[in-house]
Every structure is written in C-alpha cells, then in structure tokens.
Amino acid sequence: MRCPTLRLSMALVLALHLLSGQAAWGAAQELTVSAAASLANAFSEIGHRFENLHSETKVIFNFAASGALLQQISQGAPVDVFAAADQQTMNRAQEQRLIVPASRKNFVCNRLVLIAPHGRKLTLSGLGDLELPLVKRVALGNPATVPAGRYAQEGLIRAGLWETLQPKLIFGASVRQVLDYVSRGEVEAGFVFSTDAAIVPGKVKILAEIKMQQAIVYPVALVAASPKQDLGQQFLNFLSSPEGMAIFEKYGFVRP
C-alpha cells in the first residue's frame, strides 16, 4: 500500500460513495412538503402517520415562513406539496402558476393571539396597553414574509397603533422565532397563533385574541412542477381525513 495513486483513487471512491449517500437508504420514494412554520408540530405527527400508512414513502418537511417557502418554490426548489398560513401567499403562488389550482383547498383555521412571557409582573389587557412605557419591545413576524406578522400588522393598523408602535417593533423571521423571543422574555409581548402559544404553555400566557375581519384559513396545494402528483394528492386527502383532522385538533387547530 505504498502506491499514492491507489490511495488517491480509494479516497475518491469513498468520497463519491458518501456524496451519493441517498442510495444507501433504499429505494423508498420521498414526498417533500414545504409548510408554514406554525404547522411544524402537527405536520410532523401527520407525517409519521402517513409514513405508517404508506410504508414505501418518506415524508420530508421544510418548515419556514410561508413567504420564504414561496420564494424557494419560485426559484425551482423540488417541492411536492405547499401549505401556507394565509391565502395571500397561496394567491401569489397561483398567480405565478407554481401550484395546481384544482388541488388547492383550505384545511384548517387558526387564531391570532397576543402573548407575554409567563410570570412577568406586567399585566396587559389589550392592544392599547402596548403603548405603555413599560412595554419596551413587541415582537411580530416580518410582514413581508410571515403571515402571522401580516395579520398582526392588520390588527395594529385597525387599532390605529401601527405608526406609534414602530420604535418598539421587533420583526422575527418566522412565527416560531417570535414565540422564542417571548418565551425567553426578551420582549414584553408578541403576536403568534394560538396553536404556537399552546406548545409552550409554561413559558407564555395569552393576553388577548386579536379579532380578524376575515378568518385565518390555511390553504394547501400540489406544486405544479412536482412529478409526484398522485402521492401528493394522497397526502392532501390524508390531511382532511378524520384521522388527520384529529391530529390538527389535538394541536388546537380548528376545522374550516
């Protein structure tokens, strides 16, 4: 084993083998689902159940702000199913012909809430209290990409607080980042979905529900460029099945 060429070629073979690592996992087919960050917990459980029912399938999730997911899909990310937290993002996907319009459907509803870190002496009763000097920072998702942030912006504009609260606003990259900021006590209050707040009950408390003019309804659709339309449709069907809905309800989502 003193031949350098032999060693080099062995290293190359090993490297190539590692690069093509996917082959080692068997020939199961993969379904890639890009879903709003607020769906992370419920979808992970749904994914496990779906894999149990379809033994040859592996469900791969990509959780982020709906707006960020839309950008990835429009740049050609190999995604099969897209689930957003608002209609606006899905409308944009439809305008750009990124989804199959016939497959689009609403599958769950959610509520927007104002939360605060648990155990803080400060008590806030509504949006108006955010103007108090004791409230230094208020977190919400970046309205450009995060649906929960856009809903919060809508609520604050309607309450006439959007302009006055500007110096206090902290924009998160997703609704889950806002949840993290509040549960760590880095901000005095934040806007998340009620299902997000329910994940860390010991760390945050719900102060108020923010009423929306239109209900918060999550749409899902098949991605037009996906070669796995049939498998994707089975996943969509499973979401609305009694078993799927039971999982959503367990996490606090509501039927549309």
């Binding site: 707006g67 950008q71 970046n142 902290i170 924009f171 998160g172 990259a173």
Partner: protein
Amino acid sequence: MDFSLDLRPFWLTLRVACLATFLALLVGVALAFVIARRQFWGRDWLESLSTLPLVLPPTVLGYYLIVLVGRQGWIGRWLHDTFGFSLIFTWQGAVLAAAIVSIPLVLKSARAAFEEVDQGLENVARTLGLSELAVFLRVSFPLAWRGILAGTMLAFARAMGEFGATLMVAGNLPGKTQTLSLAVYDAVQAGNDHLAMALVLLTSTTCLLILVVSGKLLHRDA
C-alpha cells in the same frame, strides 16, 4: 433602477465591523502575547478555548450569547437590573457577536508574529530598565505589527460578513440592527431580487476595496 437604495445597513455594517475589529484586536493581541510569552497551567486550554469561535457554528455561539447576555442570562440579568440595558436586539449586541467570532483570527496571527520576535531584543530592553509594559509597547509590538495587521484585516472581513450569531443576538431590525448580510438575506427571502443584487454588489465592492488597500499597506515596505 427606479428605487433609492437604503444605505443604513451599509453604514451600520462598517460601524459594527470597525468596533468589533477594535475589540478583537485588544483582546486578541493581549491573549496572544500572554500565550506566546508565558508558561502557565492551562495555557493550551486557554488557547483552544479562544480559538473555539473559529470552528464552532455561528448558531452555537449565538445560543451561548443568548444564554449569557439575554434578559434571563447571568450577565444579561445583571446588566438589565443594574443599568436597565439589554444587549439583545441592539447594534451593540451585533458588535459583541462580531468581535467574538473575530478574536481567533487576531489571536492566531499575533501569536505567530510574537513568536518570530527575537526575545533577546526584549531582554536587552529589560536590562536597559524598561518596564514590562514599555517592553511590549516599544519592542515586541513594533516588531510584530505586520503579522498583527494581517490578522486584523482578516478579523475585519470576518466581522463584516458575520451573520448567524448576529441574527440570533441582535435580531434583524431594519434601520437598527440590520447589517448588509442580514439585509441581503431579507431581500432574497422577500423575493426582492433587484435590492438583493444591489446590496450584494455593494458588499462585494467594499470588501474588494478593503482587501486591495490593506494588501498595499501590508506589502509597501516588505
């Protein structure tokens, strides 16, 4: 292009990178000198610990910083209770994050530079009655400055490009803590390709200029 480019991220990035480099220079050179000249128990551990930010993922550093200087962290709670000040979501927090990732670059270069310095010259200065501080300032540092400058350049470049730890500690607040790298990320996420392209070109040009200018400084009388 029909939009006016918001230059705040640019100026903020320069300010954060300059201050972070300055902090990294102070801490890095002091550590390097101690490590290069003194023998003490745990020296290897100290050096490895100081180099850790170079190899750890920025998210790991960001997490440590949140745990330490966050409002519920040891240092953060004390800062908040004593001065009513919190580093989280401030540009000063971005300076801290960028300084910590830059320290190893100064440390490594400065240590090598100090080891090149002839210790006989330092001893001569001591026999002539100079204090330890004067020996450092008038002999060791002037002889090692080229290596230290090289490390400082790298530290500045690293501080300018810092993303992960900055995002976690300082957040991404437009006009307040949004540096160039964060502004690029935001623009791409929101599908604003024109803005992203403008910011990317601005960043690349700035970095290229810095490299050329500091390269000239470094080789002028080599």
